[in-house]
Symmetry: C2
């Protein structure tokens, strides 16, 4: 079994190829060609931590993947990152472990950011006036970085609660070449931006429906477990097109779940991302429509990015 | 993260300590103190393989464990073992991976054999006249080895389908110090032995109820997934004491499941192994009773043996 560390993985990967593989993964998932066993969850209440184990195999492919990812929210006080993780790539022909990717959670972050890129490419309005980012953390940064490949827009408005975090984000985005405005009032993001990404672990709506202008696209990546919420359910119901990475997961705990429970939305209105990627004509019909994508994260993304990361590391080793 | 290979792990472990840890694990499990998420299963039909991912954490303990174990039954034709596996030990305080145990399935085999030892110590009749082994594979061997610590009996009768496999088992058991008889008629095992272990992947009953003599103890370890069966359901119903490693698992797919489905047994009659180990007075009442234990394998065994294996390897490294 090969063992690769985070820095090797980052150096070896071509993110355009990674995005292509993830696109293929979403399509396979929506075609029912992926074995995705139930997610395993642990709760470590005393340590303020949790861990989930996600696994997937695209039927017919050479490898399957098991991912362990954890969040221990008191870790920073111990000098450790809150999030950690690793992925194992195994042979679907012999069961033998092929590679251990000690990415410390980076692959999960980047596959989530690439899903945001894929979605923006498919659904963003034809002219992005400004990008709105809700949140200032790692995912807020990676989403902006990955959007640069699919839009020429270099205006960003970022919302956060802490002035220091907003200032740090300003420096980060400025270094990427953006004109940056920061705010503690999410209404301003809605007023200025027509491509908005929400990236927080919020447990209550941050964006009200009435703030959002026609023509806006919104990608929500924060709500990935029970109780989390970033969007007003009326906004979810109001969108002209509601796309989910997984009908099953999003109905359970995504943004969509809140609108479904309140009877504001019917599950028949949901379009799965893989279906959209296979049939782009199902997407945005005009620059007046509001489109909305709810991403909870599906294990097929892990399977695709881990398999590609292993291949890229192998190729880099061979070339060295 | 420390990485240990199978040979290091085998060399470092004291199996008496391992058995004690597994005993403690069964007790914790039956007390409801173990987080055991649903098992993840893959089926690789074209490659004649399967894989399961089992995870467990004893609440309050320092580590949790994720195990990946696979069976690819065409592997021998490729010069590979059918079974493979690894275990990961992670911190329940910070989420950080602590150790990767590349045991290639050995820890699963030995924890299963130690469960057989624990069960025999608790329930075998006071005088074991002869040990009966159904099957000739790896588990058939490891069970016999581990029984030597809890019985002085050195008579064994082994059943198998293939003369060559029986001869190989005879050599193996003889080298351990046993007087060995072999048979292709399972009735002979029942006639001669009062401590019987069934270790096959059979999908139909191998032991008839009427063959079994009063005073016999039977441990069934083969039926670990849907469709597998080694015992006549009437034998399960006839036993004076029926013990299961997990009420939930055994009711789904263990030997017990067949008797439950046929209405020959009620789930109220089942005693969980952890309860028995905590309250030994619930066990065998006389040398005329038939006792029966159905082992499907629970993730708490993996958590306990992997954590101990890591500690033993660490101690061995420190001493070296």
């Amino acid at each position: 079994m090969k063992i690769y560390q985070q820095q090797q993985i980052i150096a070896a990967m071509d993110l355009h190829i990674a995005a292509q593989r993830i696109t293929e993964g979403f399509i396979a998932f929506s075609q029912g060609r992926v074995q995705v066993p139930p997610v395993q969850n642990f709760l470590f209440a005393a340590a303020n931590g949790d861990c989930c184990i996600k696994s997937a195999w695209i039927e017919g492919s050479e490898n399957f993947v098991v991912k362990i990812s954890s969040g221990f929210y008191d870790n920073p006080g111990k000098g450790l990152a809150s999030n950690d993780g690793l992925m194992l790539v195994l042979s679907a022909q012999t069961g033998q472990p092929q590679a251990l990717l000690q990415d410390a959670g980076w692959l999960t972050c980047i596959r989530t950011a690439l899903a945001g890129q894929i979605v923006a490419k498919a659904l963003a309005p034809s002219r992005v006036t400004a990008i709105g980012i809700i949140g200032t953390g790692v995912q807020a940064r990676m989403q902006l970085e990955q959007l640069m490949a699919v839009t020429d827009c270099r205006q960003v408005c970022v919302w956060g609660r802490q002035p220091a975090a907003l200032e740090a984000y300003r420096d980060f985005a400025h270094a990427l070449g953006f004109q940056v405005s920061t705010t503690q009032d999410a209404r301003q993001v809605a007023n200025q931006c027509n491509l908005i990404i929400t990236t927080t672990p919020s447990r209550e709506a941050l964006l009200d429906s009435e703030w959002i202008r026609p023509g806006t696209h919104i990608t929500a990546v924060g709500a990935d477990s029970n109780g989390k919420q970033e969007l007003d359910p009326r906004l979810v119901a109001r969108a002209d097109r509601v796309v989910v990475d997984s009908v099953q997961q999003c109905s359970q705990y995504g943004e969509v779940s809140h609108a479904l429970k309140q009877g504001l939305l019917q599950s028949e209105q949901l379009l799965e991302l893989g279906q959209l990627l296979q049939s782009p004509e199902l997407g945005r019909q005009s620059d007046r429509q509001i489109t909305l994508v709810d991403l909870t994260g599906v294990a097929v993304q892990d399977a695709q990015i881990a398999t590609y990361a292993m291949q890229a590391c192998l190729a880099a080793s061979a070339a060295a």
